[in-house]
């Protein structure tokens, strides 16, 4: 078992979730309530990472942010930031790759709140933030929870885009999915098997726990 790779994966998943959650909440709620005509385009853009092959996404990110690209050069010269073949680049790739996984369930959860509840809150004198805190977030919580779990688990198992953006640097960009690939290439099937099985169990438990929790939340109503 490559504990270093596992820990890196968990770290990556946690940081990705931390970055994505506020953005997912804002974008998901906005998409659920907006009536602007170009909403369909935004929704399509949000879904894009889901339908593109990860290598395509990784490729474009690599060429647009790499050291020889204008953006990459500008970042390196002015901010001193390099976004390829390191952890920061991995985070960026994960964030982009996971946008549909966080936004979609959150959007559906906000959409499922009956419109008259928001109106009742407004008539009761609740302002935007009070409404969000006391009505919308509690009602959307099961959806938000499943979005968080989905994003976390999905980041743990991500392979293509990570390999393209980060390569395979132990302790820096070598995640558990890449470690499994590595072991298989080296004919260490027992090692690959242990890690694969561990990943299967961890993912299964996380998803089951989220279903269990949201089921309980919904039943309590």
């Amino acid at each position: 078992m490559d504990w270093q790779a596992l820990w890196l994966s968990i770290e990556l998943a946690a940081v990705t979730l931390l970055v994505l959650l506020p953005m997912g909440l804002a974008l998901g709620r906005w998409l659920a309530t907006t009536t602007v005509a170009w909403r369909a385009w935004i929704e399509a853009l949000v879904m894009l990472p889901l339908v593109l092959p990860p290598t395509v996404l990784g490729y474009y990110m690599l060429v647009s942010l790499g050291g020889s690209s204008p953006v990459g050069r500008w970042l390196a010269e002015n901010v001193g930031l390099q976004l390829t073949f390191n952890f920061a680049g991995l985070v960026l790739a994960s964030v982009v790759f996971n946008i549909p996984f966080i936004v979609q369930p959150i959007q559906r959860a906000f959409e499922a709140i009956p419109r008259d509840l928001g109106e009742a809150a407004a008539v009761s004198g609740l302002g935007f933030w009070q409404q969000l805190r006391r009505v919308e977030l509690p009602l959307a919580w099961p959806g938000i929870l499943s979005a968080m779990v989905l994003t976390f688990v999905h980041t743990l198992g991500e392979f293509g885009v990570v390999l393209m953006m980060g390569g395979n640097i132990p302790g820096e960009t070598k995640t558990i999915a890449i470690a499994i690939y590595d072991r298989t290439q080296a004919f260490d099937l027992a090692g690959a098997n242990r890690m694969a099985l561990f990943l299967v169990l961890l993912s299964l438990c996380a998803v089951a726990a989220s279903f269990f929790a949201s089921g309980r939340l919904v039943r309590r109503r």
Binding site: P114, D116, L117, E119, A120, A121, A122, V123, S124, G125, L126, G127, Q130, R134, V135, P138, L139, R220, R221
Partner: protein
């Protein structure tokens, strides 16, 4: 009308054609209940939403007492949060994740938590909901109990205007009566204007001081229920307020007596014939000679005569009884006048006369012509045969 009630009255004017037509104005005094009636899609709920601030019309003005909530001319629009309005939603719109108590505490966010819950419990007590019920979530309450919670939440806002959107549509008859009672009490004690949206005319007549009849987004007529029922402005209003005894006729101008006019009753078809009876009815001077009209007669403006034959008076007719339905204290039936196929009168009979109402029986009937109300014919009107 006291000075006090004037100071808290609701005044509303709305005028728009897009995105949906909505126009009309109304006034409701404090302590008065105004019912908006009309078919689905008439714009009743939209009017309510304009009052609550949930909808912003193209042009309009809403004033409650001295507070102006909406004035499009001055670009003024207060959001619902700033309006102090209590709204009971059609399906109650209770928060499913909050207990009854917490739902009622929602408009009390300005109070500290313990005081908030105490005040909420007082409001629930006012609508006769107490004990462990108030700790339950809406899903654990019956329809009638949920409705009480919704009313308590609207009251907890200490509203200057109370709005009820079809509040009775989803509860059974027993709960409905209890809520009529509650509404009557609130009207006495609150002293704010109350506006009720309903499609149930009996409910409107029972509860309202004023009716506002709407159709196609427009206010067609308003007044006391008695006034609207006795004198609908046109045939469409008569239709909407459920007046069944509507007939066609031709206005033939002044009658023999002063203040009376001659109305030819088209009983046999579209064209007048000599056999069509002529009625002497009250002339309000609004109809020109030769104009085609719709006229109506209240369901109680007739008298069954002794014996089965008319005596040749202009207001007496021979008829046959049909379609009898006994409903306990009253009996509904149709009187088919022998004068012609277009002369069928829906009647409601109570008391001793009920025994005489038997299907197929020939009777003589005297119509109370003083109660006849004549209206211009509506261009798209189709009468029931």
């Amino acid at each position: 009308m006291t000075q006090d009630s004037q100071d808290h009255a609701l005044e509303l004017t709305v005028e728009q054609t897009t995105p949906m037509p909505l126009s009309g104005s109304l006034r409701c005094e404090a302590g008065e209940l105004t019912a908006l009636v009309g078919p689905s899609g008439a714009g009743k709920t939209s009017m309510l939403r304009v009052m609550a601030g949930l909808m912003r019309p193209r042009q309009g003005r809403v004033r409650v007492g001295t507070d102006v909530w909406l004035d499009t001319e001055r670009g003024l629009f207060l959001p619902p949060q700033d309006r102090r309005v209590g709204l009971v939603f059609q399906h109650y719109a209770l928060m499913p994740h909050l207990s009854a108590l917490e739902n009622v505490a929602l408009p009390l966010a300005h109070l500290p938590r313990t005081e908030r819950l105490k005040t909420a419990a007082t409001w629930l007590d006012r609508v006769q909901l107490g004990g462990e019920l108030i700790q339950r979530r809406p899903s654990g309450l019956s329809g009638g109990q949920q409705q009480r919670v919704a009313v308590a939440r609207a009251l907890a806002r200490e509203p200057k205007l109370l709005l009820l959107d079809e509040p009775f549509s989803a509860v059974d008859q027993m709960n409905r009566r209890a809520l009529y009672q509650l509404l009557a009490e609130l009207r006495q004690s609150l002293n704010v204007p109350i506006v009720l949206v309903t499609h149930d005319l009996n409910e409107a007549r029972l509860l309202a001081d004023r009716l506002v009849v709407m159709d196609g987004g427009t206010v067609l007529q308003q007044g006391t229920p008695q006034f609207v029922h006795r004198s609908p402005r046109n045939a469409r209003v008569a239709d909407l307020v459920g007046i069944h005894n509507r007939f066609r006729g031709i206005w033939e101008g002044p009658g023999d007596k002063p203040g009376r006019g001659r109305l030819r009753w088209l009983v046999s078809g579209d064209q007048p014939t000599d056999s069509d009876p002529v009625l002497e009815v009250i002339d309000k001077g609004r109809i020109r000679v030769g104009q085609e009209v719709t006229w109506m007669l209240p369901g109680d403006a007739f008298e069954l005569l002794e014996g089965a034959s008319a005596h040749g008076q202009a207001d007496e007719f021979a008829a046959t009884i049909s379609d009898v339905r006994h409903l306990g204290e009253t009996t509904l039936a149709t009187l088919r006048l022998r004068a012609g196929p277009g002369a069928a009168l829906s009647i409601s009979v109570s008391g001793a006369d009920q025994r005489r109402v038997v299907s197929g029986t020939p009777v003589a009937v005297r119509l109370d012509l003083a109660m006849v109300h004549v209206m211009p014919k509506h261009p798209h009107e189709r009468l029931r045969s």
